[in-house]
Symmetry: C2
Subunit: 114 residues, 2 copies
């Protein structure tokens, strides 16, 4: 499984609006290989948003960014952002809240490790 | 809901061992208010581990650190770590993979926002 931890800064006062945009279309994410997607407001920077994601694979994540609804959401969000981003990729090994591969000990999860 | 994004570095070659330690006792986490817990291997630093967590509240997270099994796991991991940590707290708004509050639009989830 592929992990992605990202943050972005919004222009002052627009964080709630961007958070709402990021939370549209959750069902579509699930259908395209997303195992976990968490949107949160930074505790130490009132204009920063953190997004943590787990996908079946890096390819599933990349494909999701090409979906028409994702591209439309990004286009709507961009004018509200400062352009300050951080991102970190990882190989997810296991945990809770990852759908049908939540346990690292199942055969299916072992097969999906990268 | 309370979010916590952390990383730690292990001494060379010990990452897999620490990851395995971090994945022990998942059922105990769920029982103590953990909604999501993802352990992953950093894609850009072969000795770094990322852990992203979502808890019912900051108090639930703090309480979990006092559990005997958690304290024992930390004691076992510490000698394998370099002491380089990062951490970020956040207020989780919604997403996928958060158990029974996965949708930001349910009444229950709205009540649990902090």
């Amino acid at each position: 499984m592929y992990g992605y931890i990202a943050s972005m800064r919004t222009k002052p006062g627009l964080r709630d609006e961007v958070v709402a945009l990021l939370l549209e279309g959750l069902d579509g994410l699930r259908a395209t290989g997303c195992r976990s997607y968490v949107v949160s407001a930074c505790a130490t920077d009132e204009d920063r948003i953190w997004v943590t994601e787990v996908w079946e694979s890096a390819e599933h994540h990349a494909a999701s960014l090409q979906l028409p609804e994702t591209r439309a959401a990004i286009a709507r969000a961009m004018p509200m952002l400062t352009g300050e981003f951080t991102s970190q990729e990882s190989q997810v090994v296991g945990g809770l809240g990852l759908g049908h591969t939540a346990s690292p000990n199942t055969r299916e999860d072992a097969a999906s490790r990268r």
